[in-house]
Amino acid sequence: MSTTVKYVERDLKVVGTRPLRPDGVDKVTGRARYGADYNLPGQLVGLVLRSPHAHARIKSIDVTAAEKLPGVKAVVTRDDFPDMPVEYAAAGELTINFRDVTRNMMAREKVLYDGHPVAAVAATSESIARKALKLMKVEYEVLGHVIDVRDAMKADAPVLHEDQFTVGVEPKPTKPSNVAKRLVFGCGDIEAGFKKADLVIEREFNTKPVHQGYIEPQACLANYTEDGQVELWTASQGHFTLRAQCAKVLAIEVSKIRVIPTELGGGFGGKNNIYNEPLAIALSRKSNRPVKMVMTRGEVFRATGPTSGAQVKVKMGCTKDGRIVAGEAELNYQAGAFAGSSVPMASMCTFTRYDLENVRVVGHDITVNRPKVAAYRAPGAPIAVFAVETIIDEMAEKLGLDPIDMRLKNAAKEGTQTYYGPKLGAIGYIDTLKKAKEHPHLTAPLGPNQGRGIATGFWFNIGNETSTTLNVNEDGTVTLMIGTIDVAGGSRAAFAQMVAEELGIPYDKVRPVVGDTSALGFNFVTAGSRGTFATGMAAVICARQAIDKLRERAAAAWKVPVDGVIWENGFAKPASSNVGDFEPMSIAQIAKTAGRTGGTIAGHAEINAQGAGPGFGTHIVDVEVDRQTGAVKILRYTVIQDTGKAIHPAYVEGQFQGGAVQGIGWALNEEYIYNKDGRLENPGFLDYRVPVASDVPMIDTVIVEVPNPNHPYGVRGIGEVPIIPPMAAIANAIYDAVGIRMQEQPMSPPKILKALETAAKH
């Protein structure tokens, strides 16, 4: 069964206010402990030997010299891990295949990208571990490699996986291919749709992979004891899924692994998967010592998941009055070394902001010699939306329509049939467009070489498996044990607010704590913008259970039926004067004697939350283009998004602002640069250019609240949508400023300058 708690409108005291976050003081004083901040007595330092090649067969691995080095306590290679059959499980982004997972964490037959792990060592110091890596001898047979999807799709391309045949093609192919999967989504009759069109625009767009760029490199500490128990401290977005993955690839029973989540120094989708964790456990098992492994920034860039780079071809048709009659797209997404890109998600949100009769989207999931991609905030959507929102801008311009009016004319609303299946429920897309039209940003004057662009985004959002426990302590304060990681957005504050609201007690009487894997039942990763929605729902269920028990205790004390007791503002009260004249009992009064009136008052929720409300946003951006250097400056930026309900508006704004700035980085300067040998040229923050404070302006925010009917407070996920529109919005603003349509990301100065020169020649 699934669980949904319906929205009921009511007056709110705590929800919607801006209290200090529970983890705040620890974070401003340096007390908060992240993955690399944990240490155990006797711990060893673990390091990884990585492939220098983009694609090579491993002929032999000789670690004997490394093992003999004094201070080296354990070395592991592919031989230390069981091979895995093809078996799928859910991780952050779609599904993972354990056969690939075990090969990604430690190469087996072949190395498939620069940075692919080949061996790992645990030693008494970092310098000894570094020396040990240099003593390892790996013999490679270097193979031809392929970095770009366009090359990977060619008939004569080097093939990464000889056993990979394109799924989704009939008849089943007989030749292995880098195209792992072909997906088709659609509705209506695309050819008939284009026949109705007065204007058809077809364009190709190409983007590079970008990295989540979290500031905390992956870090973990594993302690394998002689009785086969494992303790693992690690910074991830989901300690339960991490436990499941480690148990699987190490063939250890789930109950023997206890994962203690640390504070997470950013994830954005990039910390749903195992990398060093199983290696640290294996090294600890072999050395009988705790092993700590912290990635360098270079390792983070070379070997953890960026998002896909892609080739996207979009063709759209509309009538003279701006009604879109057909939308067709081909999405060719990099999966990295193993199948499983975000192309299914991207295919489903390419056109989903619009109510379209005729749609066809073909997606290809393509393996290339790059690190396996991971989720990154609205996985895949920004790329496809870059294409579609740019073409809509061009259509509006050619038809002489206002770009917001054109979107309003086609906008999805409640009841709109999506091309991937269901109809949309209550959504706030039109509301965000209308707010954009009213916003003073839209009419502010622009100077020479300045331009304004708008674009919109949609994300599904999810709920899923969630366990939460609430205990009313003996003094009437409340401890809320949650199992979804606070991935940064302040979700602990939001949970405490919802529980305080339910119980009618002050916010600071509720202490939310993220429990380890032994404290709660399974929780799915904090991804898909599900945290505040799903755990919020679970926390409300817990609180309501506790309220029922509080009422029962008061009823017993007053010797009245439970129905005769109501819960109001933190007190049990008689439901009416008919029940009797009793002094209201506070939560503290009831809690004080709870041990003697039946035991601790608690609430539990072990649910599979459903009914996540889709999120929509509209962005407005002003840019200035330097015609002589091609540099683009962001002058002004406004994010308008439907949140359902902003439980803690300051952290909602924070999500909007942070997502927008990540999108700005993606649009302008972030990219993976590979050389001709398939080696990553910019694995550091100096040349992988995430925006710095002086690169961006203040980011204005407008919160729209169209409640999600399937959440007690109307919450929708909000974290994904803000990264979707920036690329397209900025491209549209660049066009408005200097008349060039950018179809390549990043829209970096050399590309802009070239486009300006090409335009000047024509």
Binding site: S127, A650, V661, A693
Partner: protein, 157 residues
């Protein structure tokens, strides 16, 4: 190789530790002294998470050798609050929701304090350029800049 003995002052306390000659100050703080409030984000001076001050000068502790700080005075995030009284910047960061994941926060607070010591009334632009060496991937910087402006205002009055 014999480890070097270093005596220094950290957050006002005289502290001594042993380190290897090529060990960084960041590593000495975190691994020898277990002062883990100072964070490592890149190890190459590009992110600012490891910011500390040495004799009042803002630096990346990942690009300082631990042996270099003999006789110097180091200030880290652990010394920013005065007992249980948070520094105005710390308070304003909390009030303005100027932190999310928090991994960059210690470095940004140290850098922001260093700015306000030199310039008690910085403009938005001055704050943005001063903090350009401190990457934050969560907030988009908006609320950080607001918090610094507000803290500066409060500290001036």
């Amino acid at each position: 190789m014999a480890r070097a003995h270093v005596t220094t002052t950290i957050n006002g306390d005289v502290v001594d530790f042993l380190c290897e000659a090529d060990q960084t100050l960041l590593s000495a703080l975190r691994d020898e002294l277990r002062m883990t409030g100072t964070k490592e984000g890149c190890g190459t001076g590009d992110c600012g998470a490891c910011s500390v001050t040495i004799d009042g000068r803002l630096v990346c502790s990942c690009l300082v050798l631990a042996v270099e700080v003999e006789g110097k005075a180091i200030d880290t995030i652990e010394g920013m609050a005065d007992g249980e009284n948070l520094h105005p910047l710390q308070k304003k960061f909390l009030e303005h929701a100027a932190l999310q994941c928090g991994i960059c926060t210690p470095g940004i607070l140290i850098a922001a304090r260093s700015l306000l010591e030199r310039n008690p009334d910085p403009s938005e632009t001055e704050i943005r350029y001063w903090l350009a060496g401190n990457l934050c991937r969560c907030t988009g910087y908006h609320k950080i800049v607001e918090a610094v402006l507000d803290a500066a205002r409060e500290m001036r009055s």
